[in-house]
Subunit: 256 residues, 2 copies
Amino acid sequence: MTAVHTDLPAMTLHAAASMLKTDCLLCPVRSCLVHRDGGDQAQAWSDMLAPRQALMPGDGALQRAGDRLGALYSVRGGCAKTYTVDSSGNERIRGFYFPGDLIGLDALGGGVCLSTAVAVVPSQVCVAPIADLQGLMSRMPIVAVRIMQQVSRELALSLAIAGEYTAEQRLAAFLLHLRSRIGVGINGSLRLPMAQRDVGNYLRLANETVCRTLKRFEQKDWIASTERGLKLLDEPALRAAAAPVGLDSPTLKLAA
Amino acid sequence: MTAVHTDLPAMTLHAAASMLKTDCLLCPVRSCLVHRDGGDQAQAWSDMLAPRQALMPGDGALQRAGDRLGALYSVRGGCAKTYTVDSSGNERIRGFYFPGDLIGLDALGGGVCLSTAVAVVPSQVCVAPIADLQGLMSRMPIVAVRIMQQVSRELALSLAIAGEYTAEQRLAAFLLHLRSRIGVGINGSLRLPMAQRDVGNYLRLANETVCRTLKRFEQKDWIASTERGLKLLDEPALRAAAAPVGLDSPTLKLAA
DNA sequence: CGTCACTTTGAGGCTAGTCAACGGCGGTGG
DNA sequence: CCACCGCCGTTGACTAGCCTCAAAGTGACG
C-alpha cells in the first residue's frame, strides 16, 4: 500500500525491478539448494529460474491457498510466511521461510497450494516454475534428492514443533530453531524479523503468552532482550526446556 | 513378548518367516507407491525390495531414533506408529502409518532416524534399502517424484493436525483423516487399531480428554460407538468442528 | 477366577486464552 | 513542529479448557 522503508540497498530493488536474470553462481545464499554440492547444478538452475522478484509486506501474495501450484519460490533475502485462513477468517501461520528455504513444498503432493505466502519484511525470492522443475528433476536426479531432503527437513521441523506441549517448550524450541536457522547478528543478538503476534500465531499461543513467557525466560537469565532483538544466554537450559528431540541438529550429515 | 493372536492368516506369517520375495505386481495394497502408475515401476521395486517382514506389537523396533537411516519401510498390512522419547522418558507419538504409507521419510533430510517405529497391531512391511532407493531414484526419476509427493502429503497432514486448537477440533480432524485414510469396515464402522491413549498421545491430549470428547460427539449424534470401533454419523458436522483447512482432500489431482 | 491393560467417571488445580487498559513508537497530517 | 492515530508490546484480572490424580468398571487372556 504505502511506501515502505526498506533495509535492502536501493540497487538491489532496482535490479529486481528491471528483472535481471539471477546468476546462481554469484548468489550469496550459501544454504540455497544449488550450493549444497560443488555448484555444478548452479548453471542449470540459473537457466531455469525466472528473474528474482522483490516482495514487500503488504504486497499481494506469492501464492494463495487453493491455487494450482505453479512454481516453487526460493527465498533469496528477507523473510516470508505462509498461512491459511480458517472458517472464522482468522489467519493461521504455517511456517516462516528464510534465505535458502523453498516455499511451496507442501503442495507437491496434491499439486494445489495449501497456504498463502506473503513477505514479512522486504524480501526477494527466486521463482522456479514447477514445469521446468520437473524436467530438471528428470534430467538431474540429484535435484530431486535435494528437494526431497528439504521437504523432509520441513516435515521434521513441523513434527518437532507440533510435538511440544507447553508455551515454554514451544517457544524455547522456536528460539533455538531460529538461532540455528538464521544465526546471530553482530553482537550475538538474535533479531526476530516477524512480529510477536506472528510468533504466537505460529506456535498456537496468544501474543500475551509469548510476551509473558519471554519475560520468564529473561528472569531466569536464559535470554536477554537487547536493543534490536534478543540474545540467547543459556542455550543448554533452553534446550532442556524444549525437552523432546532437538529441533536442530546442525551437525547431522547429509545422506549420500 | 508373549504370543500374540493375529488377524492375519497363518500362511501370510509363514511367508514372512520364510522370507519370500515380495512380488509387487501381485500386491493387494493399491495405495502403495508402486501402484500409482500403470505399474511399470513395480518390477523395479520388486527387484529392490527386501523380503517383506512381519512385525508384532511388543517386538523390537523397525528403526530407532538416532539410528542412521538404513531403509524406508512400506506398510503392507496392519498399522505402525513412530514415536520419540523425551527427557522424562515419556513416549510421544509422531505418526501412524497404514498400508501404502512409507516410514522414515522425515529422516531423508538428515540421514538419521528421528523417531522409533513399532507395530500397533500385527503388521507387515516391505523393506526398501536406502542405498538401492537412491540408485533407483536416479534411474527412474518418477520414483523420486512419487516419494516426494508422499513426504509432501505427510507434511501437509502434520501441519493440519498441528494447526488445530481444541480437543474437539483435533479429534474431529483425526477421525476424518482416519476415515479417508483407512476407510470403513463392513457395516460402515471405523475400527481404530490403536489404543485411545495412543490417539491422545498423538494429538497431545490426555486419554481422559479423548474419552470425554468422544462421548460428547456421541451425545451430539455425530458418531456412534459400535461393537468394534465407531461409526461417523454426521461427517459434515465433524468437518465443521474441525474448522480450519481440511486434512483430507481425497479429490485432489496429482501434479503431472 | 485372577491379572492386566484399557476405558470410564469424578474432583480439583493449573496453564494459557480472553478481555481490557496503558505505554512506546513511527507515520501522518494539520 | 506537534497533536493525532494505529500498531505493537506490556501488564493485570478473570475465565475456561485441559491435565492430573484417583478410583471403579470392562474385556481379554491365562
